[in-house]
């Protein structure tokens, strides 16, 4: 593993439980960092009442 084993990326790879070949490590780390940079937007605070879009609909199976 050509990386600091304590880096965020190395930890993410361990948590995901996947194996990345040595020759693709840098490419994947770069992809990971690009993804995290885009997802910074998700750190912006939201109001308590802003609920997720994908919530269960328990009326979906009710025959009308």
């Amino acid at each position: 593993m050509p990386d600091d084993p304590n880096s965020d990326f190395a930890a993410a790879v361990r948590r995901a439980g996947v194996a990345i070949p040595e020759d693709r490590w840098e490419v994947m780390r770069d992809a990971y960092e690009s993804m995290q940079a885009l997802l910074k937007i998700l750190d912006d605070p939201l109001a308590y009442e802003d609920e997720p879009a994908a919530l269960p609909r328990y009326d979906a199976g009710i025959k009308r």
Binding site: R15, A16, R24, V27, D30, A31, P52, A53, A54, A60
Partner: protein, 464 residues
């Protein structure tokens, strides 16, 4: 019948009804064209000739016996190879599913079969409807009929190629982040991503449960309306399916655009870094609609980066959940590009996924609010014409921010259709409607199509 492009669904239906066209002859023409063009286009994973011939003969007998089922009876179609058709393999273009024989039809397949359509084959896709064009899979990637050195777009790559080449007039695609609209755009066809929940996903290999949609690619907008009349409707066995009445899509198709308000998203297009030719084509599209009597209103969508953060966090998370076991135990079975893109989902946190779903609701409300002042939105779907196939981005992180996935995030119906050409390759416009209002999208698209006339131009390959 000559090896000319197949007639549109509407034309074939009229000719079959009048007895001027035989389903057997039409199916033979489609099979001949599929086999002839396969070495050039690689549009198909499998051509199901025997099954198609048997179905065509059955259709011919039924129609001759006065039992015509409807306007699509006896007309060939193709399925992206993530749709189940009983007795046939569903490979998802992957080594992992080479021996996966479907035991039942997908709900959409069943609806098309019940309408009397004739399946002629399973079409190429990007592996599991994600990744990108890959050369390390058991099947090659499809090629663009306008120029076979160029990318078809994806992931419904074979569907775009087969319709553009006139092999079939209807091919089914799926769209999680643009996978119906991107091949439609690059191949110069019509491609409709219906409202989330409008068309069943049951029996179609999933990529991302909360973003996946299924829908048609056709040569004309009228054909999309015909296909939607069969495809749309509630499926109680699909947890994402919506119980919303289905209108008669052809009833308003020819009503024109006079009095309609079209929201032109030019700032959003600039944000998407679209090219000058694409910009000019979209400006001309807006002008054409204005000439036809529509009111063009500049509107502002939220920043594309917000949509992209939502789309990517949600799609990567859900697709990793689906593929985690295989990625951990035999990753070598995936194409390199698929494997790496899917793996990114394993690096996200639960918090990021939930935040993305929360932001998604906010963005959906903002787009819904735009529809209080306009009837349809006009945006770009891609920055420009199809790139060279071998130069397509195959890295784990797509550098280009897609414009199409905006309406996967919000769920609104969105349709790509030709609006010009650059360097001999199609350009495309995207019309977007209110949730479950595909009818108005089709109405605007049809009016534009009839006025602009792009459908008269077909790939030179299709003249074979």
């Amino acid at each position: 019948m000559s090896a000319a492009p197949l007639p549109t669904l509407a034309e074939a239906g009229r000719k079959i009804a009048s007895g001027d066209l035989s389903p057997v002859a039409l199916t033979e023409a489609a099979l001949t064209r599929a086999a002839t063009l396969q070495p050039k286009l690689d549009a198909f994973i499998e051509i199901t000739a025997d099954r198609a011939r048997a179905a065509a003969q059955r259709a011919e007998r039924e129609i001759a016996g006065g039992r015509r089922r409807g306007p699509l009876h006896g007309i060939p179609y193709g399925l992206k190879d993530i749709y189940d058709a009983a007795g046939l393999r569903t490979t998802a273009h992957s080594r992992l599913l080479l021996d996966n024989i479907a035991t039942t039809d997908a709900e959409t397949t069943a609806r098309l079969e019940a309408a009397g359509m004739i399946l002629i084959g399973k079409l190429a896709t990007h592996e599991f409807a994600t990744g990108g064009p890959a050369f390390d899979l058991p099947f090659p990637p499809a090629r663009n009929p306008w120029n076979t050195a160029h990318f078809t777009g994806g992931s419904s790559s074979g569907s775009g190629a087969a319709v553009a080449a006139g092999i079939v007039s209807l091919a089914m695609g799926s769209d999680t982040g643009g996978s119906i609209r991107l091949p439609a755009a690059y191949c110069g066809t019509v491609g409709l991503k219906p409202t989330y929940g409008r068309v069943s996903r049951r029996g179609v290999a999933p990529l991302c449960y909360s973003l996946d949609t299924t829908g048609p690619l056709t040569w004309t907008v009228e054909d999309t309306a015909l296909a939607m009349q069969v495809l749309a409707g509630h499926d109680p066995l699909d947890p994402g399916s919506a119980d919303v009445p289905v209108p008669d899509y052809r009833a308003t198709l020819r009503d024109g655009v006079k009095g309609l308000r079209i929201g032109y998203c030019s700032a959003f297009n600039r944000d998407g870094e679209i090219g000058s030719e694409q910009t000019a084509a979209l400006d001309a599209t807006a002008q054409t609609l204005a000439k036809l009597g529509a009111e063009i209103i500049e509107v502002a969508l939220p920043p594309n980066a917000q949509f992209q953060a939502c789309a990517r966090a949600i799609s990567h998370s859900e697709s990793f959940a689906i593929h985690a076991k295989d990625l951990r135990t035999h990753p070598e079975l995936y194409a390199r590009v698929t494997r790496e893109r899917l793996m990114l989902g394993g690096f996200l946190t639960a918090t990021q996924y939930v935040q993305a779903q929360r932001l998604r609701r906010i963005l959906t409300r903002k787009v819904d609010a735009l529809f209080e002042t306009v009837d349809v939105l006009l945006t770009a779907v891609i920055p420009g014409p199809a790139p060279v196939l071998e130069e397509t981005d195959d890295g784990p992180w797509r550098r280009q921010q897609p414009l199409a996935s905006v309406f996967n995030v919000t769920g609104h119906p969105a349709m790509a259709q030709p609006c010009g050409f650059a360097t001999g390759l199609p350009l495309s416009a995207q019309f977007v409607g209110r949730a479950f209002d595909e009818a108005t999208v089709l109405r605007v698209g049809h009016a534009y199509e009839q006025e602009a006339g792009w459908i008269a131009k077909r790939p030179a390959l299709a003249a074979l």
